[in-house]
């Protein structure tokens, strides 16, 4: 799983039959400092989140099939939680440039 931010909604009427009318959200992964990094991905949402929220994403097809109880749902990313806060040990962060010398 990883932490990501919901950056938008995806409007798509023509879609695979097994996706149904499930809501699609555009999300971007966050780094330890909360900055968006990497490319956008499209995720389904089982809890009901909104734009701008920091969420927990499981990116695994098997998990999606379990969540939706559908063996044929072609989905790879699902939003499974809202991140209220998180703590990172200082030693896990890369040293700031020029610091600690």
């Amino acid at each position: 799983m990883f932490r990501a931010r919901v950056v938008g909604d995806v409007v798509a009427t023509h879609r695979h039959e097994h996706l149904g009318q499930k809501k699609l959200l555009l999300v971007r992964r966050l780094d330890l400092d909360g900055a968006e990094e990497g490319h956008e991905i499209i995720a389904l949402d089982v809890i009901g989140v909104g734009r701008g929220e920091d969420v927990l994403i499981v990116q695994e097809g098997g998990a999606a099939r379990q969540l939706y109880k559908d063996k044929k749902i072609p989905v790879q990313a699902v939003i499974v939680g809202v991140v209220d806060r998180f703590d990172v040990d200082a030693s896990a962060r890369p040293p700031a440039p020029g610091a600690g010398q």
């Binding site: 938008g8 023509h14 879609r15 555009l26 499209i42």
Partner: protein
Amino acid sequence: MFIGKVIGRVVSTVKQDTLSSVTLQWVQPVSSSGVKTGKPLVAVDRIGVGPGETIFYVTSREAAMTLDDPFAAVDAGIVGKVDCFDIDGGRCWPAQS
């Protein structure tokens, strides 16, 4: 799932059995603003999309699940066509084409 843009169609007559009568599309991975995010790939198309359209696709095992045969020898499959992205809560920005 990932965003992509259909840039062409792949024609192949001699194919492995699980790929018979399956449409293959060239897909360029892009961001919501249409910027390229990787190298083009070939994806199976079960839903029917056309060149220039922005789509989203799945990879790995889920790609085969877009087809009737869940054991088809494919690694990317188109699952939907993007009409627009609602980024700022107001206007729905059309997918770049």
